[in-house]
């Protein structure tokens, strides 16, 4: 396959028609809520583009982000993204290893000077010269600086790359930092999430390739198309929230009725992401639909927000009057909930004691 060929030519030689491009473009523009008619323009842009060189750097991470993007895609609409990019370096996925792998990265950089995209997953260790995380003897921070030198753009995938994530959680022993603290002279796009929604990654890359520009970003550099609304804005449990009907535990009558999970720690009201609409695993479900509150995994410092099961009771200023009102009601009810759970606990202890006694 020649690098000079357009995606249209490459796919045509494999019997993939322009209809596939149009279909893929309709899918991405629906995901990103692009104006009607953008699909045709995106399809033409994609077909005329060259295969996008991508250098993927994995730093202080758990490989969950890669797992999310490559999860068992069958050869359908969603997997076309892998035909549009050339993953020139990804040390988990590439066949080459050792020096050959590093050589592949350098070659891709030289051949696609000014045009390649660097994707980073994982935070960047900066303490003591970054020696806590190295690849082929090179500190992550140095490899990042060298790799982005001639990049078109940098995509920080996952909360660790975007905001420091779990490696940066207190006490942050490795001096973990987000990508945009190191890369200051190139456009950086953050796609946070632990892991991020695969559609968001595919959507942003497709947009870049077909239109040659960045999608609209918010003040945390997140694409507005996927991070423009909170989980709470689009949550199907919202009618219960509005009526003040909350689950007090994970196994009480309220939980079984599908009541709002605010009091068991849901961070949906302050979390910007698309889980409530795009969902996970091919649209099957998302945490709240499976009965667990949102952890807020796509927000900065989500690990250090005082506990996943503690209700959001602080910083009501930013939430708007309706939410603050319900939150206060929630807090007042919270005292009752604590009493109920203590009573539950007491009953359990008594039961235990009785059965122990019975055994004797």
């Amino acid at each position: 396959m020649q690098r000079s060929q357009t995606l249209g030519e490459i796919l045509d030689s494999r019997g993939v028609s322009r209809r596939a491009f149009l279909k893929y473009a309709s899918y991405v523009s629906a995901l990103m809520a692009l104006p009607a008619g953008s699909a045709a323009a995106m399809a033409e842009g994609l077909a005329a583009a060259r295969r996008q060189s991508v250098i993927w750097l994995s730093f202080q991470e758990c490989t969950g982000c890669t797992e999310s993007l490559t999860r068992s895609f069958s050869p359908t609409l969603e997997s076309l993204i892998f035909d549009f990019i050339s993953l020139d370096y990804h040390h988990t996925l590439q066949a080459a290893s050792g020096e050959a792998a590093e050589k592949a990265r350098e070659t891709a950089m030289a051949e696609n000077k000014g045009k390649y995209i660097v994707v980073v997953d994982g935070a960047v260790s900066t303490k003591d010269g970054g020696l806590y995380s190295t690849i082929a003897g090179v500190a992550n921070v140095d490899m990042l600086r060298a790799s982005v030198k001639d990049a078109l753009a940098v995509i920080a995938v996952g909360t660790c790359a975007a905001f420091g994530g779990i490696p940066k959680a207190r006490p942050n022993p490795t001096g973990a930092a987000p990508v945009d603290e190191i890369v200051t002279d190139k456009p950086v796009i953050n796609i946070p999430g632990c892991p991020p929604i695969p559609e968001a990654m595919a959507g942003v890359i497709s947009y870049l390739v077909s239109f040659g520009k960045l999608p609209e970003l918010d003040d945390l550099r997140r694409p507005k198309a996927f991070f423009g609304e909170t989980i709470h804005d689009r949550c199907y449990r919202r009618p219960f929230y509005e009526r003040g009907l909350f689950a007090d535990g994970f196994d009480d009558a309220g939980a079984r009725q599908g009541y709002c999970l605010y009091k068991v720690g849901c961070k949906g009201p302050v979390t910007y992401n698309s889980c409530a609409t795009l969902k996970w695993n091919g649209g099957v479900s998302f945490p709240i639909q499976s009965g667990h509150g949102c952890l807020g995994c796509s927000e900065p410092d989500f690990w250090d927000q005082g506990g996943f099961y503690r209700p959001l009771s602080t910083s009501l200023r930013d939430l708007g009057p309706a939410l603050a009102g319900a939150a206060v009601a929630g807090a007042a009810l919270g005292a009752g909930a604590a009493w109920a759970s203590r009573r539950h606990q007491a009953a359990y202890v008594k039961e235990q004691a009785a059965s122990e006694g019975g055994k004797k």
Binding site: S26, D233, Y236, G258
Partner: protein, 145 residues
Amino acid sequence: MTLAPASSHPHAPREAPALTGMADAVLAEVAARLEDYAETGRAATIELTAMPLTTEDRAELEAWLGRGEVAVTIESAGHSEIWETRFSGVWFVRHFGEGDRIATESIEIADAPLIVRSHPADMRAAARRLAALCADQSTRTRRDA
């Protein structure tokens, strides 16, 4: 406030309204666009995928629009089903993704949906392939003769 379609799930709020009135709104837009198209030839697409329609809303909309004379299936990057509704020029376009779930759904107001038409690039490639086939055939015929 918006409601995501969730009525299929046991935890879905039972009291959530099944019909939200969104289908009426979409239908009104279809009517306006169709009138415009008939007059000016301006085609339009109404994207349904991200609209806060409940499952019941979607079914209602589909039932109102009904099925007309033409139905098309496309096998390209997965399966697609397209049909003209009982209103000429109003097409329902449904693309399926992984695991046969609906990836996108839209209503197109046009003489034919864009994806049904043959693309000039595909036709150029097809012409080359067909010419090669003809050349191949004629060599074979000559050899056999």
